[in-house]
């Protein structure tokens, strides 16, 4: 047929190779129906970031592993509750992870546990090594360069809260700036981050 060329032209554009997770949404849908195989694939997709994020907040690898397990089981358990109108599937997962990590880091009991376990864990995993590992990963991440785009105060406000689990009054004390300023910098920092991360 003479028209095959035109038909080629109408082929859908293949998924962009820059998008590493084209099907997190369909995986999560399958998980919601009880598909354990899909859960395994979703696990592989999100766990390095789930675990890395929790470990970054908690610092203690043993406790991070425990919380990561809770979070991933929670993802399995509540997959049907994911509402695509409110955000992306990966953001849903990382929000659960971050929230759990922050809850844990702020609980006094856990603080005691952490001291004990961090002491034990530091034998084979010195904190500096963790920090180095994180720094190396960060180099390659878009998020890092976007963080560098923020003002110093925006960046510190955002990262002290997100990566270390501080409340905004704690951030205010750490940075010695007024509460109102911290609130504003967190908000406009996130807005700037958002505008940087959105692909052009």
């Amino acid at each position: 047929m003479a028209e095959h060329g035109r038909r080629d032209h109408l082929r859908p554009v293949p998924a962009s190779p820059e998008n590493p997770e084209p099907d997190a949404g369909s995986l999560l849908k399958a998980v919601a129906r009880g598909d354990e195989k899909a859960f395994g694939r979703l696990y592989d997709l999100v766990t390095p970031r789930v675990y890395g994020l929790i470990r970054r907040v908690l610092r203690d690898p043993a406790q991070a592993e425990e919380v990561a397990q809770e979070v991933l089981v929670e993802v399995w358990r509540t997959a049907a509750r994911f509402d695509p109108e409110r955000g992306s599937p990966t953001a849903w997962v990382f929000t659960i992870a971050h929230r759990r990590a922050v809850d844990r880091v702020r609980s006094e009991q856990a603080a005691a546990d952490r001291t004990v376990r961090a002491g034990a864990a530091s034998v084979d995993t010195p904190y500096d090594e963790v920090a180095d590992e994180v720094a190396v990963r960060l180099e390659r991440q878009q998020v890092r360069s976007c963080l560098d785009d923020l003002t110093e105060l925006q960046r510190q406000a955002v990262t002290l809260a997100y990566y270390q689990g501080h409340t905004y009054p704690q951030v205010s004390r750490l940075l010695d700036v007024p509460l109102a300023t911290v609130k504003t910098r967190m908000r406009d920092g996130l807005i700037r981050l958002r505008d940087c991360l959105v692909p052009a």
Binding site: P48, A80, R99, R100, Q109, L147, A161, M186, R187, I191
Partner: protein, 238 residues
């Protein structure tokens, strides 16, 4: 006031609010659709920060998680598609409807929105709620109130306790109050009544895993000794 509370949207998206302010802010979001959209948007951005924290997971984690899900029952999708699209996406967030304790008399609990806002929750009660909500075996169940709103029940056998979190869209008519009940083998007993004009509360219930159901009714103030039909919500625990 609304402007003032909305200034918390940045800290909210970063999980940088304490439980009390988070509860107040989430109430604000339920009343303000554009605010909720902004909050969702900034949360989406904040979650991208997880990209910067990539780390190799421990080798045993995968097997442990896959074994654990084999024993974990999934919740079904929320049955009713409410006209109000506000739905808690994450269970941890359900955990945060917080936490003020009624110091008002034995077994009684009265909690006011304002009190949550003014942060009169005690640290001890907050810690107790948190312990239950983060128990490894915690089970959360949620029902909508016929009168509008939600009741969420968290129950942990390990803690032998549970938490009832009531979040109504508004207070009942004048002279009427919300009251909650635990029902064991068909016999209801009052878990407490809210005060007039109150629409949100959190209560720790010792021994909750022994109950079969949790009920919510609207009663004449200051509360009834037996629940009057119809129930505003019934949460099945077993």
């Amino acid at each position: 006031m609304s402007v003032e509370i909305h200034a918390l949207v940045g800290p909210y998206a970063l999980d940088a609010l304490d439980d009390v302010e988070r509860a107040a802010f989430e109430r604000h979001l339920r009343e303000c659709e554009p605010c909720r959209l902004e909050a969702d948007d900034l949360r989406e951005t904040a979650a991208r920060l997880a990209d910067g924290a990539w780390s190799v997971p421990p080798p045993g984690l995968r097997d442990n998680v896959l074994a654990a899900i084999g024993n974990t029952r999934q919740v079904s999708a929320p049955a009713t598609r409410s006209a109000r699209p506000v739905r808690r996406m994450w269970v941890a967030a359900a955990a945060a409807v917080v936490v003020a304790a009624g110091a008002a008399g034995a077994g009684a609990w009265t909690i006011q929105d304002q009190r949550v806002r003014t942060a009169q929750a005690t640290a001890a009660q907050e810690a107790r709620v948190r312990t239950i909500l983060t128990a490894p075996d915690v089970v959360l169940r949620e029902e909508t109130l016929d009168s509008g709103g939600r009741v969420t029940v968290a129950s942990s056998r390990l803690q032998d306790a549970g938490v009832i979190m009531l979040s109504a869209d508004g207070a009942p008519a004048a002279g009427r109050v919300y009251q909650t009940w635990t029902i064991r083998a068909g016999t209801p007993s009052s878990a407490g009544a809210l005060g007039e004009g109150q629409s949100a509360a959190v209560q720790v219930i010792d021994g909750l895993p022994e109950a079969n159901q949790v009920g919510v009714t609207v009663e004449a103030a200051p509360g009834a000794t037996t629940p009057s039909a119809p129930l505003d919500a019934l949460v099945e625990l077993t």
